[in-house]
Structure formats: C-alpha cells, structure tokens
C-alpha cells in the first residue's frame, strides 16, 4: 500500500499503465483516438453527414456523463444530462429520418446506466449524507428530471436491460462510427492539442509490452481496434466493471471530489490508478482472462504496418513526443521508452545518422528529465541506460564528425536531416556536463565505505571516456569557448588523480606523456582562449593542485603567486573557493614533502586556524549547533560536498600542519623566552600544547595530536631522538606518513629537520649555561655532519639570534655573556615600546598632512600591510566571515594587554 501513495502522484511506472482511462480528465476534448494511429481512416477525410454530427455530439455528452459518474460529480452530470436531452431533441428528426425512429443503442444504454447510477446513489443513504450540499441538491433535481424524461424511453430501456448483449455488431459498428468521427475531430485539433494527444496515446501503446498488471483496459485492447477510448468501447465489460469500479471509487473519490471542485479534472487521473490496482485482483478472480503477451515483440504501434517510414514521419513523431516534454502530466518514463522504440524503428529503416543522433539526443534529455528534483540523484537503471545511450550517441557523432553539425546555434527551422551536411539542434557538451554532474550526485548518495561506492566509482572510467569522446568531437566542431568547457570537464576528472609516472619521469625512468603534460596542454589552452574568468580560475586552481600533487613545488608556487588569486578568491563562487581551499591544502602538503616547512605552514594556517577544515574543504558538514543554518542552507551545502574519492585526508593535513608548526614554533619559543613581544606563530598548535598541559596526568601518546605534543615537549629540551621517535613511529606511519607516495623520503627529511631544529632549540635554551661548546661535540650529539652544525650556528650568529662567535683553531662556539638581567630585559622592553610610540607619533603626523596627501599615504600603508605572498590569504573565506571579526577583536585585546604590561613595567622602573 505504501506504493499506492507514493506512486500515485508521480504517475509511477505501474500506475501509468492504467492511464489509458484518463479520458475522464480530458473529457471535454474528445481526443481519445491517438494521433499516432495513422490508420487509413485517419488519413482520408470523410464528409460528415448530419447524422454523424448529431451522433457525435450525443456520444460526447454520454462520455462526459460517464466520466462524471465515475467521479460522482453529480452537478456536472445534471448539466450534461440536460445537454443530452437538448442534443437528443435536436437529433430526433434525423433519427426519425434515417434510423426509422429507432433510438440509437448507445443512447439507450447510457440512459440505462444513468438510471442505475441514480438509483444506486439515491439508495446509498450514507453516501448521500456525506455529499456536498451542491451535489445533494443536484442529485435530487437530476432524479426528478430523469424520471420525467425517461418515460419516453421506458420501453427501449426495458428492452435493453433484458438483453444488453445483443447490441454486439450493431453497436460496434456504431462505435466505430463514433470513433471515426472523433478521430476526425482529432485531426482538426491536432495542432492545438498535440501535446495532450501524444501524451495519451503513449500509455496505451506501451502498456502492452509491459508485464504490468492487466486490468479491464487490456480486455479493451484485445479487441480489434485496440483503442483506448473509454468504456464506451468496451460495452460488454461495462456493467460489471462499472459496478466494481464504483465500489472502489467511492473510497477515494468521495474525498477528492467533494473537497473542492476545481482540481477535479486532474485529481481523478492521479487517484484512479490506485483504484485500479485494487481492482486487479477481484477482476482476475472473476475470470477475466489476461491477454497473452508477446513480450517485447509486440511493440507499441507507432506507425501503421504498411505506413511508409521516412525521415519526415519519424521526425514529426519525434516532435510530437518531445512536445510533451516538461508538461506536468507527461509520463517521463513512457516518454523514454517511446523514444527508444522510435530509435529502433529508425534504425531498422536506415534513416541516416542525423535522425538517429537526434533521437538519441532526445533520449538523453528525456532521461535527464526523468528526475524531477535536481538535488536527488537519478535511478541506477536510468544511469546505466544514460551511459549507454550517450556512448552510442557519441560513437555515432564521432563516426560522422564531419557530416553532422550539432550545435545550439542551429535553430529548429534550419535543421537538416536528409542531406549532408546534417544540421541538428542540440549540444552534446551540455549533455555530458549534465551527465558528469549526475555522476557526482550518484557518488555522493552512496555510503563511501560501502562496496556500492566502489561499484559506482567504476563508472568513472566510462564517464571519463565519454568526456574524452566529446572532447574529440568538440575539438573538431566546437568553438574555443566550448573547447574550454570540455577541457575543464576533463581537468575536473584529471586534477586530483596521482600519476606515479610523473615522479618516475623526473628520475628519468619514464619518458612518455604524463598527466602533468596533459594538464599543461589543457590548461594553457584555457588560459589563452577563455574569456570568462571562472573557467580560467578553475583551470589555474586545478593546475596548481595537479602540480602540487606531483611535487612540482616551484611550478605550483609560481602559478599561485602569478595568478594573484589570493586577492580575488573571496569574490568567487563557493565551489571555486572550495577548489581554492583544496588547492591550498595540497600545496601545503607538497611544500612539506619538499621540505619547505615554512611555506607548508603558511599554506595550511589559513585552513587550520578555523578549526573546521572539514567544512572548508567540503568534505563533510559539521554537526550544527543551535540551528546555525536553515534546512535550505544545509541542502545547498550538501550539494557542494566533494565526493569521497576526491577527499584530502584530514588527519594527514592536520598532522603536517602541526608538525610544521612544531618545527617553527619550538625554536622560536626558545629564542624569545623572555620577549614580551613574542607572537604566536600558530594558535592551533598552542591550543594543543596547552590542552595537554592542563591534564593532570599525561599518559603515553595515543592519537596523532598527542604524538605531536609529546614530540614538541621532547624538542623543547633539545632531545631530538625522543622527538623523532614520537613523530616517526609505527603508529604514526600507519596513521599518517604512509599516505605519502614517497613516505621514506619524507620521513628521512623530517628526521633531518627535527635534528636541526632541536639543535637550534638546544642552543637557545642552554646557551647561558655554557661558556663555550665544541662543535664536534654538538655534531655528535645531534647526529649531524660538522659542516651542517657549523652552518646552522653561523646562521644563528649572523641573524643575531645567538650571541656567540666561532673559534676556529679550537673548533668551539664561544658564548658572549650578554644575557640581560631581569631589570635590563624589562627596560629593554620599555625602550622598545617607547620607540613604537615615537614611530606612531611620526606616522600620525605624516597622516595629518593636507588632504590631497592623505589619500596616497593611506593607500601606501595598505599596500604595505598586504605584503607579499601567502600572507594575503588572510581572511579569505567569506563563508566564515565572522572569523575576521574575531581576529580583529583579539588584536585589540592583545594590544590592551600590552599597554597594561607597559604601565606595569613603568611602575616597576620607578
């Protein structure tokens, strides 16, 4: 039953098979006869006699009445009945003249039915009570009027009731007549109602090959003319079926019809299918034979058997089908199937590649249309079908690449299907882009840790191939803009993939083309041919990402610096910003692998400062606190998420960040132990340190963070061995380091850095206890070559970090005791502050220059603040703009803090 409700509104696959009876909805338009039905009758026009005209009128009204009966719209029945009487009186002369006064059977039958209906309704007291006021009133009037009217026909009705089956041939003939008429009508209304008509005929056609449940419609179809009209055609089953139906109808219809009147026309359509499904079983029980199916062999009849199938016919058919596209009532599933049928027909008839391409193209768009909600992925069956059709389409296009012009610029009117060069309207590029998006959606829907995800991911190859094919096609046919677009698609599938051949090539082990070369080619094309900034930005970002992935640190860095993206990225769309963040993260990792610790830190600080890198990289939503975002927002953000296989390992990222922070921060801390102006290099790192200090008992490290903290503590004492053991051990290897491609190299490099930085820390921390230290001793202690120790110490001396000098003959470092006493240190600080004050004064004075001067000054200051390189990234992500505010506040706080300190020290001095 759940299916019931779910399926109903969607005109789901099963329910759609019942749509043959929709006439109810469409009642006012007698367009039951599908236009596709290109029977002979349809083709030749009959000059209609007066009789036909009248009869048609009558039958229309009767049809209406029947429909209204079904939905129990008694008000309308009443009006229709009045119409019927009027029409009948009009038709009477003709009946008298041509039929010898015999009242047509179908009129009689309808009257009989109506009578039954009225009596039934009238007797159903409960039902009457529940009726709306309007309906109840109408019922009364109808009953009275009917009684009065029916008197004239009583004899006929009686006769009819006695043997309703007699009518057989006669009736059929008449019906045929009616159908003919109505089909004529169709022709006229063809143009206007094409959509409706096309829609209606499909269901009926396609039900047959379907193993879907059969209902009374099937029995209809089993009759020769296979028309889906309405029950008027299936007179025989009417009595039982109608009763049956009525019983079921009540349940739903009463509600639907009574509630309000307007949607009545539509509702039944939605509701009916459900009913009929219930009907199925009782009917089967009652011995309604199912019509044997011929499987798929019995395809819907698109064209008459002997109809000549040529391009025009197919084309007009196609247009009919496609005209229904996007309509609310259109059954999208059937549309797809219908198109597929059309495709096979045209394949059989060899109508040329153009028409095939056109049909395939339409199938693709029909499949895209299938899903109503953009945010939801398409069904798997359609996905595979889509891949298949797309593949066929592209094969076809590529085979005829010079003959078929497929472009958005071709208008419907100028399409050319028969002679070369073919011209088609459409855009494969858009189609493949859409397909790609769908693929990402599908991936996002899967649980990334399941097999399902892996299964889906296998399609990546197909998608890439498709893109490749489109690329080939577009390269021949497309404009530079289109080429840019498809290139970018390809880049999207390329940039995050690691190609080990690149590193091999660097070592000279490999010499064919690598993905980096490919990337270069694609990106350069976009750089020079793109005129929308977005594509270029994305291309650059992907390019940098790719370089960074393959350890091309310098190229990646230069691209970052040259593009000046840091300044403008906050104005771009979120998905580009995400790409930027991903690129930065990867650049940081690359810098780390290449041993540029400082750069690595600078790349990553922006991401890690926020404590929500996960969100910034679009690798998952952070559980929200107190409804920070609305459902809408969440939905949008969900759409932006990266599929799992493109994720950057967050633990690795954090570890790399913390380790580089450690390597920078620990020596710095040691060097500026007494410096009041000491600034934190990395806040996040400090937080980790502090949180571990707060613990009353520190156990052996478990998590990655604990390892780094423990290592930092060891480094503070210059204990490089302990430090490197904390950083590089089995646990950390499996957790983090093994994720790098050349893990061993990275580990070696790390240990080397740890040694060096430990040495520096050691010298900073303990230089005041030494008069002199021997260089060989240091080199032994830190397991570094003497040259390296020498060079490190030299650097420290030159940079005035270490008050010492080397004594060459004895190979020692001689310390100059210049550590200031506490008082001296404080007075030094004071002096510094006063210097700042004087500087500030001077600046203020400069700023107070006349107006015209001021502006330039201001700008210059700003320029200075911005400074070079990576620093510009500060405050970039405008999706956490509040962060900026926070920083500013903090600055103010520290400033105040400093001022207080200053005052204190001044007091002390006095």
């Amino acid at each position: 039953m759940s299916r019931f409700f779910a399926g109903g509104s969607d005109s789901d696959s099963d329910s759609s098979s019942d749509d043959g009876q929709i006439p109810i909805a469409k009642a006012p338009q007698p367009v039951q006869q599908p236009i596709v039905y290109s029977d002979d009758e349809d083709v030749k026009r009959v000059v209609r006699s007066a009789k036909e005209k009248r009869f048609e009128e009558l039958s229309n009204i009767i049809k209406n009445i029947r429909n209204y009966k079904k939905i129990k719209d008694i008000g309308s029945i009443l009006t229709s009945f009045e119409e019927l009487t009027r029409a009948y009186s009009k038709a009477q002369p003709i009946i008298l003249k041509e039929e010898n006064g015999v009242i047509p059977k179908f009129v009689i039958r309808s009257l009989a039915e109506l009578e039954t209906f009225i009596n039934q309704t009238w007797d159903d007291k409960d039902g009457r009570k529940n009726m709306s006021k309007n309906n109840g009133k109408s019922l009364g009037t109808l009953r009275q009027k009917f009684r009065k009217y029916v008197k004239d026909f009583e004899a006929d009705i009686k006769k009819f009731r006695e043997n309703p089956d007699i009518e057989g041939d006669e009736d059929e003939a008449e019906e045929k007549q009616v159908d003919e008429d109505s089909s004529d009508d169709d022709d006229e209304s063809d143009q206007q109602t094409a959509t409706a008509a096309t829609f209606k005929k499909e269901p009926e056609k396609i039900t047959k090959p379907k193993p879907a449940p059969k209902d009374d419609d099937e029995s209809d179809d089993s009759m020769d003319w296979g028309s889906s009209d309405d029950e008027s055609s299936s007179s025989s089953d009417m009595d039982d079926a109608a009763d049956m139906r009525l019983r079921f109808m009540k349940k739903v219809d009463d509600k639907g019809a009574d509630k309000d009147e307007k949607p009545r026309e539509k509702k039944p359509k939605a509701v009916r299918p459900k009913k009929e499904k219930i009907e199925e079983e009782p009917e089967d029980n009652e011995g309604w034979e199912t019509v044997p199916k011929h499987g798929t062999s019995e395809k819907p009849k698109m064209f008459a058997k002997d109809a000549e199938i040529d391009v025009h016919v197919v084309l007009s058919k196609l247009n009919e089908v496609m005209a229904a596209r996007g309509k609310k009532k259109t059954d999208r599933k059937l549309q797809i199937e219908f198109l597929q049928e059309l495709k096979s027909i045209s394949e059989q008839h060899n109508l040329g590649p153009a028409i095939l391409a056109k049909i395939r193209f339409n199938i693709v768009s029909a499949i895209f249309d299938y899903n109503l909600k953009i945010s939801e992925p398409m069904k798997l069956e359609y996905w595979s079908k889509l891949l298949e059709v797309m593949n066929e389409l592209l094969k076809l296009l590529l085979a005829n690449v010079n003959d078929i012009v497929l472009s958005e610029a071709v208008t419907e009117e100028t399409e050319e299907f028969e002679t070369k060069p073919y011209r088609l309207r459409g855009c494969v590029l858009t189609a493949v882009e859409r397909l790609d998006d769908e693929f990402i959606k599908l991936l996002k829907e899967c649980d990334p840790h399941s097999n399902e995800y892996v299964e889906r991911l296998k399609d990546e190859v197909t998608v890439t191939k498709l893109i490749e094919q489109v690329l080939k096609y577009v390269e021949v046919q497309g404009s530079p803009i289109e080429i840019c677009r498809i290139y970018l698609r390809k880049i999207d599938h390329l940039y995050y993939k690691f190609d080990p051949n690149v590193l091999k090539k660097k070592k000279g082990l490999h010499d064919s083309k690598t993905s980096v070369d490919e990337m270069e080619k694609l990106c350069f094309y976009i750089y020079s041919n793109d005129n929308t900034d977005r594509l270029r930005t994305r291309a650059i970002l992907s390019h940098i990402f790719h370089h960074a992935l393959h350890d091309n640190w310098f190229q990646a860095r230069d691209l970052v610096l040259m593009s000046h993206l840091q300044e403008t990225i906050q104005h771009s769309d979120p998905s580009t910003q995400i790409l930027y963040n991903r690129m930065m993260a990867n650049l940081g990792l690359c810098a780390f692998r290449q041993g540029n610790i400082k750069d690595a830190h600078q790349c990553l600080i922006e991401l890690m400062m926020t404590t929500k890198p996960k969100e910034l990289l679009a690798q998952g939503l952070i559980p929200q606190r107190q409804h920070e975002r609305s459902l809408e927002q969440e939905k949008v953000e969900k759409q932006r998420q990266m599929p799992f296989h493109m994720h950057i390992n967050l633990e690795l990222l954090e570890c790399v960040y913390l380790v580089s922070a450690m390597l920078l921060e620990i020596p710095y801390m040691a060097a500026h132990e007494f410096d009041a102006r000491r600034r934190m290099i990395s806040k996040t790192f400090y937080q980790q340190l502090r949180s571990s200090e707060r613990q009353s008992l520190v156990g052996p490290p478990e998590s990655m963070r604990e390892h780094v903290v423990a290592a930092s503590k060891a480094m503070r004492h210059g204990d490089w061995k302990a430090c490197s053991e904390f950083i590089v051990n089995k646990k950390m290897n499996t957790k983090v380091w093994d994720l790098f491609y050349e893990a061993d190299r990275v580990r070696d490099m790390l240990v080397k850095f740890i040694k060096e930085e430990s040495l520096r820390t050691y010298l900073f921390t303990y230089s005041n206890v030494y008069g002199s230290i021997s260089v060989p001793y240091l080199s032994e202690m830190f397991d570094l070559p003497k040259m390296k120790v020498h060079s490190i110490i030299s650097k420290m001396i030159i940079n005035e970090e270490l008050m010492a000098s080397l004594d060459d003959p004895s190979e020692t470092v001689v310390m100059h005791r210049s550590e200031p006493s506490r008082l001296q240190a404080l007075s030094m600080q004071l002096a510094d502050k006063i210097t700042n004050l004087v500087d500030a004064n001077e600046r203020i004075f400069e700023a107070k220059q006349p107006n015209f001067f001021q502006r330039g000054q201001y700008n210059r200051n700003q320029g200075n603040q911005q400074g070079g390189g990576y620093n510009r990234q500060q405050n970039q992500q405008n999706w956490n703009a509040n962060k900026r505010q926070g920083q500013r506040n903090r600055k103010n706080v520290t400033f105040q803090h400093q001022q207080q300190q200053q005052q204190q020290s001044e007091e002390k001095l006095e």
């Binding site: 030299s794 001396i797 000098s805 080397l806 004594d807 003959p809 006063i834």
Partner: protein, 436 residues
C-alpha cells in the same frame, strides 16, 4: 665553459646590430668553433646592408676574394636608395641648418611651428627622415643615424606609430657609437614611454625584456650604471617580474652588479631572496656563490664557486670589465661574513677560503686593518687572526636604543609647532581643508 655561456639567450633579445660586438667577442674566446661562428655572423650580416662588414667576414672565412655579383649589385642599390632618401629630406635639413643657432631648437612645439610657418615645411617629411635614419642604421652608419633620429624625436609626436621605433633606434645607435651618457638618457626616455603607454600585457612584457637586455649594455659601461642597474632590476617590481618570468639569466648581471657595489650591501638580502626563489629555473656559479655564502654559510662551497665565477666572467661580454672588482669584492664579502661569525681564525684557513696564498692573504688583511675597515689583530706567532670588538652589553644596547628617541621626539614637536604657527598665520584660509 659553454654551459654557462648566455650569449644564445641574450641574442634573442638584442637587435641584429647589437649582436655583432657579442659575436665578435665570442670569436676571441675559444668556446665555440670559429668557422661556425663566422658563418653565423655572415648570415646575420647578410640581412643588413653592411656591405663592408660582409666582405670583411668573407675574408676571414677565406672565401674567394672576389665580391659576388649580387653584393656589388646590392651596394649600388643601397647607395642609390640612400641618395634618393637624402634628397627627400633635404629641404628639412636645410632649414634645420638655418635655425640651428636659434633657441627654437630647445622646444619641440616652437620648432614645429617655426618650421611650418616660416619655412612652410610639411611635418610629414619626418617620416622620410625616419626612413633615412633606418636605412643608415642598416648600413652601419650609426653616428649619422643618431643625428637624424634626434631630429625625428624633436618633431615627431609621441602618438606617432613610429615613435617607439625611433626611441629604440636612438638607443641602439647610441650604444653602438659608445655614447653612454646619451644612451642612458635615451634608455630612461624609452622606459618611461613603455611604462606609460598602453600595450597589452604580453607586449609590455616583451618590450621590458628587450629593454632589460639592452640596458645591461649601457649599465655596465656607464659610470653610474651600477647603482642604476640595481635600482631598475631589483627595486622596480615590474622589471623584476619581467626578469623572473622571461629571463632569469639576467640575475647573473644583477648579482655581479650587487657584488661589486660595495655601497649597497642591503640590496644583497633582496637579491638573495630573488635568487632563492628562482633557483629552480636559473643557476650559475655567481648566483650559487651568493647562495652558498649567505644562505648555507658554506664557505668551502663559496670558495669553489668563486673560482668558477672567474672563468664565467672572463667569458661574458657584458661583465668582463668587472672581473677584478668582482673578485676583490667577493673576497671581501667572504671575509666579512667570516669575521662576523668567528673570533679567531688561522690565517692558513683564511687564505684557503679567499683563494690566496697565505702570505698574500696576510698582506691583504693587513691592508684591511690599516684602512680601518676591520677591527682585528694578527697573532703572527700562532698564525691567527683575532677579531676585535666584543658584542654590545645589554646596557650599551639599551643606551643605543633610546639614544635617538629624544632627538626624534624633539624634531617632531618642532615640526608640529611650526605647522601650528603656519596655520595660525594662514588663519581662515586653512578651513578649506575641513569644508571639503
């Protein structure tokens, strides 16, 4: 040695005529095969109208003495064409001759108006002058070219399509006539023109790259060039960018300029930053020398590189003149750094590091001490050089820090007061700043 030869790279950015001195220079070094070089020169020369030079090269190549027919023919056509052009510009030249003495020559506007009103000369004639100058240049007659181009510059409007060409031509011919002072002026004029006109990004980059290469010629020959080259290459971000993107090899000349320029030691830091940044695209002994010395403090490496540097400089047309200076200054740099780090060095080690004999090194140090550029003593018994100068005590540091403060504050108050006074005097008129 060919590894570090930049001639091929430089030639791409130089004018055909400017390449001849470079190629001739290469002929004198034994880096490349002489015949190949000569053939190359001949090929280049053939594209110009320098018939005499062509014959000269042919001689050197031991080609048949007799001039080929086409050369003869060419000479005749060239001469005829020259005559024709000279005839065209004759009226203008006559006028110029006449007004030469007047001061109208100083201002281009008045000059044009005088020419138009008094002598009734059409300004379009200047295009012929330009053509003639170009032709003369092609023939290698640079001196005359400069004078014609001078007239062109006086009369032509900056928006003329040939104006840029005239500027380039002027610079080239000044360089070729070794007229460094005017060359420098032209260089500046050209630079301004390039910076101010609106080329596309690519064009401007190209123009700058050319200018950078041409200017190297000027800068290493002009007495003031060594400051200017640093100023232009290192501190003009546009040109630094051009160097980094188009021609990182220029860093060699920049490094040499910085090293030999003792007065600008602070430029060294910026230079090293650039060198490090570009180290993956360009590297040669000179930049590596700096890297070893100031980044890695690897004196041994620096010493080796210094040795290589000498050969490189010897083979480089642009900087061969600075060889001695370079070596001297490089040594000094090593020594300075050394002294800052060490307090005691054996003179043997020092001599090693400086690429000198111990005696020579000692002599050199003595000279330095005598010139009071080094606070050190030599302990000749042990063969040590002991550095003097203890680091500042915290007290001294403190004094130093606050030393200037009072002076600066006083100066500031002075300024404020003076301003105040001015303001008071001006009175009301000052309000306009606030009403705006």
């Amino acid at each position: 040695m060919a590894k570090f030869d930049l001639t091929t790279r430089n030639l791409q950015f130089l004018d055909r005529h400017l390449t001849f001195p470079l190629l001739e220079f290469l002929l004198s070094k034994d880096i490349y095969d002489k015949n190949v070089l000569l053939n190359f020169i001949l090929e280049t020369v053939n594209k110009t109208n320098m018939i005499d030079y062509t014959t000269d090269i042919r001689q050197r190549l031991n080609l048949p003495e007799k001039m080929p027919e086409e050369l003869q023919l060419k000479r005749q056509t060239v001469l005829a064409k020259l005559k024709e052009l000279q005839l065209e510009v004759e009226p203008l030249m006559k006028c110029m001759e006449e007004i030469k003495t007047r001061d109208t020559m100083k201002d281009s506007k008045t000059l044009i108006s005088v020419l138009q009103t008094e002598y009734n000369i059409k300004i379009d004639i200047i295009q012929s002058v330009y053509k003639l100058a170009k032709y003369l240049y092609e023939c290698g007659n640079y001196t005359e070219t400069t004078s014609y181009l001078y007239i062109c510059l006086m009369i032509m409007q900056p928006h003329d399509k040939n104006y840029l060409n005239v500027l380039w031509g002027k610079l080239a011919s000044e360089i070729l006539t070794l007229n460094w002072q005017t060359a420098l002026e032209d260089l500046n004029r050209l630079r301004e023109f390039i910076d101010n006109s609106n080329f596309t990004n690519i064009q401007v980059l190209q123009q700058r790259t050319w200018l950078i290469h041409w200017s190297v010629l000027v800068f290493f020959n002009h007495p003031k060039g060594r400051d200017l080259i640093i100023e232009m290459f290192l501190y003009k971000p546009l040109y630094l960018n051009a160097i980094q993107t188009m021609c990182p090899h220029i860093l060699r000349y920049l490094s040499v300029a910085v090293i030999i320029n003792r007065g600008r030691r602070n430029a060294l830091k910026d230079l090293i930053k650039v060198i490090q940044q570009e180290s993956y695209t360009y590297k040669d002994p000179i930049t590596e020398f700096l890297e070893h010395l100031y980044v890695n403090f690897d004196f041994e490496g620096a010493r080796m590189k210094l040795h290589e540097c000498q050969t490189v400089i010897l083979n480089d047309f642009f900087i061969i003149g600075c060889l001695d200076e370079f070596v001297e200054n490089a040594r000094l740099m090593i020594f300075e750094t050394f002294c800052r780090i060490h307090q005691c060095i054996t003179s043997q080690l020092l001599a090693d590091k400086l690429n000198m004999e111990p005696e020579e090194a000692e002599c050199w140090i003595v000279n330095l001490i005598r010139n009071a550029r080094l606070d050190a003593k030599i302990d000749s018994k042990l063969g040590y050089v002991v550095m003097g100068g203890q680091p500042l005590s915290p007290y001294q540091q403190f004094v130093e820090k606050i030393d200037s403060l009072s002076v600066r504050s006083e100066a500031l108050t002075e300024l404020v007061e003076r301003k105040n006074r001015v303001k008071n005097q001006e009175g009301e008129s000052n309000w306009k700043y606030y009403t705006n």
